[in-house]
Assembly symmetry: C2
DNA sequence: AATCCTCTATCTATCAGTAGGTAGGTTGTA
DNA sequence: TACAACCTACCTACTGATAGATAGAGGATT
């Protein structure tokens, strides 16, 4: 059997639906669900663990229809990461709205809830581990998550008595411990290990 | 083109190559190279980042030939993880062969070398993040890595003055921080961040 | 010495399944 | 009518995996 199929066709005008550029119109109901499902899958197994096919199947539409909402997987991945970061920081509130101790406790609780209640990894911890094989814009979003989280914690630690130079490493250290604790607790199938690691911190 | 090949012949005994069961014969040169390349790819992007095709291409054999050495991807993944753990612990030596401070320094240096010199993630940190979507035996190997590493560090911390109850959380905490620090440093493309995080520890 | 057998390591050819992606048509609603 | 949202029907590329064949090496039998 030799190829008898028709040629690809000359035209290649990219005609995709709503361009998911940042700050465009608010996502439609379907677009939201696509992101919800994609996020959950990505947080379970990484960037190649979510597919247009599986997402479409879960929603009840065809895989091609997902492309209407997000033209490429890279765009979808970046949108998921961006939304994740935005929600994460919004849930934390302003870094100087609470007493430093309370703010740190709330920060730890954000990770704890993701691990224990949602039973998922941190999206950007996952993406961060895979950073070397991610599309550029997705990698950039993962980077932005950590940059903004470090800035948030830096402010908190600076207010709690750390010198300006010491606040940033302290922030990075807490984030690193939290991401690592999630990995360890999940791998060992022992949620209590997460608490044990963070209790030790003080 | 229709089939013109000679008849299959009577025999059809399942004839797979060397069964890669643990503690079989030492791996052949080719099997070693397969594991080397697979490990590097997995440490760069996770479990779905290494494929029989790419490994074969790099060695210069056909994808099917890789199956001769490792019947399935799961077997290959588990073999890579097992070898990784064995080498890691062997490089560390006995946990009571050195003064505790030196032993801890050596442990940290093992991660640091992987990040800075090899420019790769810890294999089992990567697999640990993806644990929810790994084949059973591979997940088990990742678990074994952390279990044995915690035991090693627990011994060290117990010798350095920690109570038996406090030694294990201390061990888990160090491992978590190291894995998280690798992710952060890689994501931010800032190797110095790894050192900053670990310098803060004490 | 010649024959036979078995093993290793590879090949070619092919499979079913899934990946992301594209072209163009249909439908419901404002 | 216009557009948003979805469809059918493909495509190319790649996934892990299998079947059957083969070249060459080594040992055993005749």
């Amino acid at each position: 059997m030799v190829q008898t199929r028709p040629q690809p066709g000359p035209r290649s005008t990219a005609r995709t639906g709503p361009q998911k550029s940042p700050l465009a119109s608010p996502p439609s109901e379907t677009a939201s669900r696509i992101m919800d499902i994609g996020e959950r899958m990505a947080r379970g197994g990484g960037y190649n663990s979510f597919s247009f096919r599986e997402i479409a199947a879960e929603i009840g539409i065809k895989p091609a229809s997902v492309h209407y909402h997000f033209a490429t997987k890279e765009l979808l991945g970046a949108a998921i990461a961006s939304r994740y970061t935005e929600r994460f920081l919004q849930a934390l509130g302003a870094p100087d709205a609470l007493a430093p101790d309370i703010a740190i406790g709330r920060y730890i609780e954000a990770y704890r809830g993701a691990l224990i209640q949602e039973e998922l990894m941190c999206l950007c911890g996952m993406f961060g581990a895979q950073i070397a094989c991610l599309p550029e814009t997705v990698a950039h979003e993962a980077q932005a998550f950590f940059e903004r989280n470090m800035a948030w914690l830096e402010t908190v630690f600076a207010r709690s008595g750390f010198t300006p130079e010491a606040a940033r490493p302290e922030a990075a250290s807490l984030i690193a411990t939290l991401e690592g604790a999630m990995i360890l607790a999940r791998t060992m199938q022992d949620p209590a290990l997460f608490d044990a690691i963070l209790a030790r911190r003080n």
